[in-house]
Amino acid sequence: MLENFSFRTIVEYLPLFGQGLVTTVWLSALSFVGALAVGIVLCAMNLQRGWLFRTPAKAYIDAVRATPLLAQLYFLYFGLPRLGFVLPELVVGILALSLNSGAYVAEIIRAGILSIPRGQVEASVASGMTYVQRMRLVVLPQAFKVTIPPLLGQAIVLVKDSALLSLISVAELTRAGQLLASDRFMPAEGFLTIAAFYLLLYYCLKGLATLSGRWLGTAGART
């Protein structure tokens, strides 16, 4: 089988893969920033006492978690133009990933905040801090440490999910593999190469997670 494997074609297509990789990286990065923004807002809504903000936040999170990302992507891709928003595929893609990942990020942040012992909150309340002060000075700095590893895990998921954007013809990494597969009828070469690139991205993020774990570990020794 390997004698048929054309490394030459892969090399020939390398610039295309390179561009795809770069696109995947920056669109994932942008989507992750978007997901953080969406997640923070959703989480803030979800932590409110009244139902007014909580119910819509919970409904949104459930809806995102219950439906396939592909369905969400198509929903935006075909749905938005009908509402009069004609956006470039790339923008729709980043929007879909942000909105999807944001629901998971919201739950990660919420778990981090809820992991802070009640006594911490009581101590800050007793000292006369306002809600904002105790969030800023006591709860969030501690929650931050707990959320970094799972957030990086979510970033890994997001990078892999970004492959779906190839279906709305965004020229990212998977799209590059598809092109090689269909132009030259070399699916093995195309998809094995992109798999290698995804693996590379995975190890980068995992390395970051390990580093942050080590940093948090030393910080953790102080907690």
Binding site: G119, E122, A123, V125, A126, S127, G128, M129, Q142, T223
Partner: protein
């Protein structure tokens, strides 16, 4: 109007669901007075002092603290809490802050004391509780007794009018209890108004003007430490004392 103490419970009731945790509590704590609260586990001691700074809300009756009626729309609870220090059984220090930062956090952000001034005061307070060499230590690097002393310094940093203690030595190894009690005695001798939930008789005899004995949500007996410990008047307080004296 009757005379008002620093802390004034008048017919206070509180329920947790169907449980009447505080039953018609009437108790007045004068300025500079030290009141020790004791009683069996679950009798409502924690709930009683947690009501004073609004960590628990009361259902009916009046609770007036430093002249302000709790639950009154005119009472700014956040403001009032800055005048009331609370020492928890489990210390509740901020683990991500050093001892000094634990002490200066609220003065800087709540009292708006300039940082340099707050740090100077913080160092002095930590020295006062015997921890001058631990200013830069994190809570996890301190023993239980040291953590509790930082927690007391953290309250004193706000220059409160009242200090509340909820079993401050119950989570400590026996050899660390006296270092914490010594600090509390010093605070009492400086004239702080204090409500202290504790079973430490030595502390009560030394600084308390009054011991209040609670059982099943009610104040059953109240008197000077000597009266209470030497001549308990009710069966329930006698039974309780015989239990805590056994060890």
């Amino acid at each position: 109007m009757t005379k008002t103490g620093m802390i004034d419970f008048r017919g206070v009731n509180k329920w947790f669901g169907a449980l009447n945790v505080l039953k018609d509590i009437t108790l007045s704590v004068e300025p500079r007075e030290v009141v020790v609260v004791c009683g069996p586990s679950g009798s409502g001691k924690s709930t009683l002092i947690r009501c004073v700074n609004g960590l628990e809300a009361i259902k009916d009756g009046d609770l007036v603290v430093d002249g302000q009626r709790l639950g009154d729309p005119a009472t700014n609870m956040t403001q009032l809490r800055t005048e009331i220090g609370f020492v928890f059984q489990s210390f509740n220090l901020y683990p991500h802050k050093t001892a000094l930062e634990n002490v200066t956090l609220a003065p800087i952000h709540v009292r708006k004391t300039p940082r340099a001034e707050a740090e100077k005061a913080g160092r002095e307070l930590l020295a006062k509780v015997g921890l001058a060499d631990k200013v830069n230590a994190y809570p996890a690097q301190l023993s239980g007794g040291q953590q509790q002393r930082v927690a007391i310094a953290r309250c004193l940093g706000m220059r409160p009018k009242i200090m509340l203690f909820d079993e401050p030595t119950s989570a400590l190894d026996p050899e660390m209890i006296s270092e914490v009690l010594d600090v509390m005695v010093a605070v009492a001798e400086e004239g702080m108004t204090m409500m202290v939930v504790t079973h430490e008789m030595g502390f009560a005899r030394k600084v308390a003007q009054r011991v209040v004995f609670m059982d099943a949500g009610a104040i059953v007996e109240s008197g000077t430490p000597d009266e209470f410990f030497s001549h308990p008047r009710t069966d329930r307080s006698r039974a309780f004392l015989s239990k805590i004296l056994r060890h």
